[in-house]
Every structure is written in C-alpha cells, then in structure tokens.
C-alpha cells in the first residue's frame, strides 16, 4: 500500500481545495471530536498507540510529546508547525502544503484541542511562496466554512491559525531557533532546558511538530491508532514520506510503509539512473551518516534497521549517489553548507564548521596534506556533543561517516591532487 496518509488526496483534482479534501472525509474527525466531545486524553492515547514518531528528523513519539504539555496550567499555550524544511535532500513538507494543506490545518486544530492551545503558527520557510499561498488560501476557506477561528462548528472551541514566513536560514528548522524567529529575533537556538513544553513561544508552553507529523493526525484518528501502527512496525507506525533524490530515474516523494526495504523504495524511484551503479546512500537527509550502497541494499527504511547500518532515518530524505560520485567533492559541499548555516553563537560550531569547510575545500582543491584526514576527523569529533543545538552534530556526522567509508578517496585526492572517479556532473 502507499499514499494512505499525507498523500491520500494527491490524486484528486485541485486536491488542495476544501471541497476536494472534504470529498475524501476531510474534517470529519474534527467534527466528530468536537460534537462527541472526545477528551484530549483519549485522543493522545490513540496517537501514542499509533506510535507516530516525529517526522522532522529526531523521531520522537508525538503522543508522548503532547502528553508533556501542562494542559492544566492556565494561560496561553501554542502549537507550532515546523514547515521550515531546509535539510538538504528533504522536500516532502512542501508537497503536503501544496497538495493537502487542509489536512495539516485539521491536524493542527486537533493538536490545539489536545494540548489546550488556542493559537497555532505554521512556520513556512521563506522560499516556499507557492506552498505558503496554497496554505493561506486553505486557511481562508477553512475560516469561511467555520472550521477555523472562534467557536469552531458551534462547539465553543476556538482556534486561530496563522502562517509565519521564514527568510532563509536552515537553522530555523531547529525548534527553539524557530520560536525565536517567530518572536522576531535572529534564529538562534535556545539552550535547553527549559524545554518548549514549559517555556516556548513568548515564554508560554508550546508544542512543535513537523508538518508531516501534524498532517498525519487526522488520518490516524480517523482510522485509529491501531490501523496506523499496523501500516508500519511496532517500533514506528505508519506510512511515511520518503524524498528520494540524486542519481535515480524517478526522483520523487514516496509515501510507503515504515520498514519497506530500501531496495524496493529504490525500485519505486526507478532505480539508479540508467547505466550506473549504486555507490552510496545518505538515508535521512544531509546530516545523517552516509551508507555504502551494497550495505544499504540490505537495510529497511525504519529507525532500527538504518541505525544498525550506522546511520539514521532522519526526515526520510534518501540521497542516492552512483559510481560517478566523488565523495570528497560531496563532503566539501556539505561542509560548506553547515559552515554557511551555523547560527554562530556557540564556539565549536561557529569555528569548527568553518574549519571543516576550509580543510575539505583544500583537499578538494588538491592542496590538502597528509595530516588533513586525521585533522578533519578530530575537528568533527570535537564539535560532536559540545554544542547548543544539533546543527553541530549534523555538521560532524557526514564528515566522520565519509571518512569512515571513503577514506581512500580522500587519500587519493591528497596524493594525486585530483578525483579518483570521473563524474559527468
């Protein structure tokens, strides 16, 4: 099975419209919750049962996260959706916003209901103008239909939802940087604790979830947590979106069961581009460790299986590389990315990402020296675990994994001042 959750409407004409969404059962769960006055506790239980794990990258169980919210504490609370989607390789949330925005809206309203938040913000990266416009239009439709705003469907439940547009900063995808950004500040991550559930947006209790996580909610509650769980594995329920990009014949977003063998997913994506062989895969977005192709062919697309191959499922962003790929060149580009995107507040990340970028660049440029490989490994190791947010780790992990699996290519670059492989790109 495929396309049962976030992409369940994509086949419909104007799938982003309210009528299309409602033609396929949209907003029914919300109606049911409000009219039957289902309790947040039972809803959260169902989400726990579904074992929906956060789709933003960390895989934290969503039901558990919601249960941390101090529901009984008075005052404003917030639900925030993370549509900042900036991790290289990741482009699934964009399509949810473009093709199924109402499902996200319904998911956010239900989330607000469950955690006692009457206001929500959807943080959409600034480059996503078209998805933003689709989402805004959907908000208008929902408000006009009495599905959003004050006294939703006459239930007495109020929920206001707004978009907030970013302006170009990968680090704002980190949840506390994102909160600072909504507050009109630089997107610098906050030191935790305190955690957002206690001290979040404007200092109020806040839950932050990824777009895909929130958009999955209506389907989970419509079909039941058990159903969702059964689509995947006990360790992680559901179908999940995988963005398959790079050297494949049919790159695209595929919503498939958690735990699908990588080989099958690769086949869905048309296999490695014509005439080429699989060399390496980054399975979860640029910050997850690279896995050699042959090893990847034995891996299933779930948290545990990928972990056993030394990497992470992340946001399910599968980057496929064929044998024409020069690994030092790819790493150089990634190291530059983290250097450019470091927010700059903590020392190891600010200084370390620049260092990694400069050393990889000089290896790539053919002016590296023998000691550089050890240096890279050690600098990356020194960043790991010492920073405020996970961007530091995200910068270090590719370096360490590329060196682990492709050290010879780096050595070759240093020794021969050129690439080991020929690429046509």
């Amino acid at each position: 099975m495929a396309n049962q959750v976030c992409f369940r409407n994509n086949h419909l004409e104007n799938s982003w419209s309210l009528s299309a969404y409602q033609s396929n059962g949209g907003y029914e769960v919300l109606k049911k919750i409000l009219s039957e006055k289902l309790t947040p506790e039972e809803l959260i239980e169902d989400i726990k049962l579904s074992n929906l794990r956060g789709r933003g990258g960390a895989g934290f169980p969503t039901g558990l996260k919601w249960s941390f919210m101090p529901r009984t504490v008075d005052g404003q609370k917030y639900i925030v959706c993370n549509s900042d989607e900036g991790e290289p390789g990741t482009c699934k949330d964009r399509d949810i916003l473009r093709y199924n925005p109402h499902q996200l809206i319904e998911g956010m309203i239900i989330a607000g209901y469950c955690i006692d938040a009457s206001v929500g913000y959807n943080y959409i990266r600034g480059e996503f103008w078209e998805p933003y416009a689709r989402f805004e239009a959907a908000l208008e439709e929902a408000r006009a239909a009495g599905l959003l705003g004050d006294d939703i469907l006459g239930s007495g439940f109020n929920f206001q939802l707004h978009s907030h547009l970013g302006a170009g900063a990968y680090v704002c995808g980190e949840e506390t940087a994102l909160l600072n950004s909504i507050e009109g500040k630089k997107g610098q991550p906050r030191f935790k604790p305190p955690f957002p559930a206690g001290f979040g947006l404007y200092g109020r209790p806040t839950t932050i979830n990824n777009t895909e996580s929130l958009a999955s909610i209506p389907v989970i509650l419509a079909k039941g947590g058990q159903w969702f769980l059964e689509q995947g594995l006990p360790s992680a329920g559901g179908e999940k979106l995988f963005s398959v990009s790079g050297h494949v014949n049919r790159p695209g977003n595929y919503e498939v069961p958690m735990g699908m063998p990588f080989s099958e997913l690769l086949e869905m994506a048309g296999g490695v581009r014509d005439g080429h062989q699989l060399k390496a895969v980054i399975p979860g977005g640029s910050s997850t460790p690279v896995v050699p192709g042959e090893q990847m062919m034995d891996v299933n697309m779930d948290y545990d299986s990928i972990a056993s191959a030394g990497s992470m499922l992340g946001a399910g962003s599968v980057i496929v590389m064929d044998e024409t790929t020069c690994m030092p060149r790819v790493l150089t580009r990634l190291a530059y990315f983290y250097y450019e995107e470091s927010c700059g507040q903590c020392t190891p990340c600010r200084e370390g990402t620049g260092w990694l970028s400069r050393v990889t660049q000089r290896i790539e440029d053919g002016v590296g020296v023998a000691a550089d490989i050890e240096l890279l490994d050690s600098v990356a190791g020194n960043i790991e675990g010492t920073t405020i947010c996970a961007l530091g780790d995200a910068a270090a992990m590719p370096v360490r994994s590329f060196l682990k699996h492709y050290r010879d290519e780096f050595q070759y670059h240093i020794d021969h001042k050129k690439c080991m492989v020929e690429s046509d790109w």
Partner: protein
Amino acid sequence: MSMISDSARSDIENWVDKYPAEEKQSAVMAALRIVQDENSGSLTTELMNEVATLLEMPEIAVYEVATFYSMYELKLVGRHKICVCTNISCMLNNSKAVVDKLEDKLGVKLGETTADGEFTLKEVECLGACVNAPVVQVGENYYEHLNPAINPDKIDQLLAELRGES
C-alpha cells in the same frame, strides 16, 4: 517623510495582527520582506530604522534580523534575483552546468549583477525541492528540472520569460 508606502504599511499591519498585541516585533521578518520588495529588492539602513520605529523595537534588533536571514539583501540587486541551488541533490543533478550556463548567458559570476541591472545571480543553499533538481528560484517561483543535459532549452526559456520576451 516615510519611505514606506501606505499599502506596505497596511500589509505590515496585517502581519502585526497575527501576533499577540505586545509582540509586534514578531512581524519584523514580514515587514522587512515587504519593504525590501517595495525597494527594488534590497534594504537600506533608513528603511530598517523605519521598520524599527513602526514595530517599536531597537534599531540594532532589526539589523540583526536583516543580516541573519539570507533572503534579505543589504546591497543593490538586479530586477530579477536568480537563486541557484548548488546543494547536494542539485549538485548530483548537475547544478554546476546550470551555474555555468547562467554565468555564460548573463556574463556575470555568482554573486554579481548584470551591468543593465536586470539580473543578479546568487548561489543559495537547499531550496527544499530536491526531487526536482536542479532548481532555481526567481522571485516567488521555482524553476525545476533544469539540467541542461536533459532539458537543453529550459534555461533559455526561463531567461526569455524573465526578460519579458515570452
């Protein structure tokens, strides 16, 4: 004399309304984008100061925001800013050829603006459209699958469209 038009002001007001009354500053990102758009795509210190006054925030706090996010421009840019993604998925799909072709066609390097002020070429990080790589963004639009080896005419078409020729 204000340099921000009435329509931009009311646009900014709409953003202010989304946030709690005492959190006007939340609208700063939107405000900067709006005034930048109105000012041919870049910001000036005077504009930032006006935004600071409008949103009752310290000027330095506006400068911090304007210089932190990569979509704000603090130097003049061309009428069209062509943002080319060169990150991993685009790179694997030959974004280098996209850059080469654009540089060649426009006669400028990445980071530069054409002499006629029509185009600025800018390298950007992942645009979040990796499965449609290689990708460029111009204004509000994405242009995808631009690999010249596969779609030889797409870049020419794009430039023609931007020049108003199509």
